[in-house]
Symmetry: C2
Subunit: 454 residues, 2 copies
């Protein structure tokens, strides 16, 4: 009565690919949940991955591509030949076509574009020139466009006639244009349902529709959807012509992606998202680019210690407290950085409000500096029985906590003001400054009180 | 021709509140973008905030509450009296009612519930008992419910008759139930548009509709919307009765909130989201709870240094390298933690795949360990002219880089397996272990080679 253990999905895919059973692969992949699918794909070899996308019908391969993370999708397409890649990309929504092509190098992207359906390729080329995180890069070109002089009946008939095509769209609104493609209104599908057939669209539509320019940045779109309950917004070019629609979900997704990248960058994954199925050398090289900057900053900071070598030789116990002060100031500073980044992203602080942030951090820094300073001076006194050692390390930690929260609170604002990415730069700048100050406070104070310490 | 500088929005609100001009406040607030509104509210005093919500009509106060971050909204309601709070909460969508009430303490929440519209309160009470991040806590109870034995015509008439009520809903689907409220189908509004009036809903609806149980966790909902293109999913109780609908946007938002909190937790903001308009003592206390754990861990790690005091006195130059090794191992380890957390959230790794992760990290750790080790040994040799000092610190850093990426890669998996929140715990565990190992490697190796170093 022993049940055989279910085979891991990637092993199943591997054996189905090995025998080349296309129908069985298709059926199996269709049944997998998206998380199982991502996992399975990451465990296939490069050859197996290309084989998988090739063996599936393009439509289904496109579904697979839509379900897996972007970084994984780009990895998949790198090895595929241009004809097959083009067939799959033809089946993707326009904004994802452009995203994916944008993640490939120009040569690969152009080879694929040449083999795509000409109409799809024209759309993709148009979108491909927009940055990923502006309205033009996030919009889709599949939407319901309605001429303002048509009638309800005509629109309903058109919808019925082309139900197949439209079933791929998310239709809650129709976008109404005049003869020169200028956006003049939006039409709720609900209103179409409730209106009489003879009604002219121009009389039914909501006039003066809100729209967003095609080069508007992600922040403007986030703001737009925060302020308005809509599920989509029409995008217009500088001439006012309707060029696409950005869905709320695309903005949510782009915002989440940006946040993910910011987190990764703050932790030193700076060369682009890393997944462990990427080649080892690439992963090592990307991580090292960050580490090598950090080690230089660290050497710079630690050189403060070298200056005070005589004091340190005289009171070797101080060496124990140097890493503690360095780490703790890093912790206090990171908290302040995190709060500033969060307040910036919530719009609760402006980049020029340095004084306000500093005063708020100063208050917290004084309380926590005194608390942590007392704690560490207690440890020092208990260990060495010398109250002056406690006084030196306690005072140094208290002072440096105030420095750390001040720097930590202000640096994201300053970096953002100078258009430097705070997610990447705040951490290293913070720890370099707080290390230098911390070492200086401990060893400087100790030098002043040297006769009490030895 | 000098334009007067535009007044800051909160100053404007303050002066309008001071003269009690309700209409002007309303008009002014309506024109503000959501980010300006958040900023303005955070700059008002507590009294002014309650006054603002009181002076606005409830419907508009609810709009304000919907536009600002959750943590700010809860802060706002804490001072409001229950009658006014209830009037505002009555106007919110059901899932936000429950969220907001859940953020207040039980006493306040119950006082407000007593003053709410009985029907709204009943809904809110029902939702309030669900955890925030399960299907029941994310669902709305405002949706279009259709009896399966009605006809297209009847539904359209019902829609027309109650157009006002339904205009508040996001209607793309109707959810079809039988006589005992069991979900039997879903109906696309588009199909309603395209069908003949006599058609029975039971014949038009999509049967065997997908649904999610009311206690399903957020992860299951994320997975659901990843695998299916729907904008909403019906939620059923254990008896199969339709109890609500979870919108895709609610899941996206909850996922983003969770990510934000995870980031904050990883940076030591562990007591709940912090904004700088919260009271100083509360902010200091919450931050200190984290710092005090860290300082104890730091003292523990640094005690390794104390054990090797004699070696350190003999080769004082080593004291310069201790903080460098500690910081650099922290950096290498954080990269590995970030990649593991990311792979976990993308479903690209399972919590039991320790060996796979370790081998992948080992490869990167060896490469980067050698690179960083060479770099630091070069610095040591150039500084002191002693190749053995370079050998000691270089070897120590190389070894500790391998330790750091191993611990960093594995710890999130292990913590998640034991259901401990990796966002909070991974950082402190990582730095404690890598500090201890790093100090031990440097000072242990130095002790072995002491005669070459002095």
């Amino acid at each position: 009565m022993v049940q055989p253990a279910t085979q891991e999905p990637w092993l199943e895919i591997q054996s189905l690919l090995a025998v080349g059973d296309a129908a069985a692969v298709e059926e199996f992949v269709e049944r997998l949940a998206s998380s199982e699918l991502s996992l399975a794909i990451s465990r296939l070899s490069e050859d197996e991955r290309s084989q998988l996308l090739t063996i599936l019908p393009s439509k289904m391969a496109a579904d697979v591509v839509e379900q897996i993370p972007n970084v994984q999708a780009a990895e998949l397409f790198e090895r595929l030949d241009a004809v097959q890649a083009a067939a799959i990309i033809d089946e993707l929504p326009s904004s994802e076509q452009a995203d994916l092509l944008g993640d490939l190098d120009d040569e690969d992207a152009n080879a694929i574009l040449r083999h795509m359906d000409p109409e799809e390729a024209a759309d993709a080329r148009r979108l491909y020139h927009y940055e990923d995180d502006v309205a033009g890069g996030l919009m889709v070109t599949e939407f319901l466009q309605i001429a303002q002089d048509s009638s309800v009946e005509q629109v309903v008939q058109e919808l019925r006639a082309n139900a197949d095509e439209y079933s791929d769209y998310d239709i809650q609104y129709g976008y109404v244009v005049d003869q020169v493609q200028r956006l003049t209104g939006v039409l709720r599908m609900r209103d179409l349902l409730l209106a009489r057939g003879q009604t002219k669209i121009a009389n039914l539509m909501i006039t003066h529709p809100l729209s967003v320019p095609d080069h508007a940045p992600l922040e403007e779109l986030i703001e737009f959807f925060d302020s308005h309950g809509f599920l989509g917004v029409p995008i217009v070019d500088p001439q006012g012509a309707l060029v696409g629609v950005v869905q709320r979900s695309a903005v949510d997704e782009a915002a989440a992606d940006k946040q993910d990248l910011d987190y990764l960058k703050s932790q030193g994954i700076v060369g682009g998202e890393e997944i462990r199925s990427l080649p080892t050398w690439l992963r090592a090289k990307r991580r090292l680019s960050w580490l090598s900057v950090n080690i230089l900053l660290n050497v710079m900071a630690a050189s403060v210690i070298a200056v005070f070598q005589d004091t340190l030789s005289a009171v070797i116990a101080l060496a124990v407290f140097l890493p503690i002060i360095s780490d703790m100031s890093g912790c206090s500073g990171s908290q302040a950085v995190a709060v500033s980044l969060r307040e910036l992203s919530l719009g609760l602080v402006r980049t020029n409000e340095l004084l306000r942030v500093w005063l708020k951090e100063l208050a917290v820094g004084l309380i926590n500096g005194v608390a942590l300073g007392l704690l560490i001076s207690l440890v020092a006194m208990l260990w060495k029985g010398n109250p002056y050692l406690g006084l030196v390390v306690g005072t140094a930690l208290a002072l440096n906590t105030v420095v750390a929260v001040s720097i930590g609170g202000l640096i994201p604002l300053i970096l953002k003001r100078f258009r430097i990415d705070p997610a990447i730069a705040a951490g290293p700048i913070l720890t370099t400054i707080t290390d230098m100050c911390g070492f200086f406070f401990v060893l400087g104070l100790a030098t002043l009180m040297l006769d009490r310490l030895v």
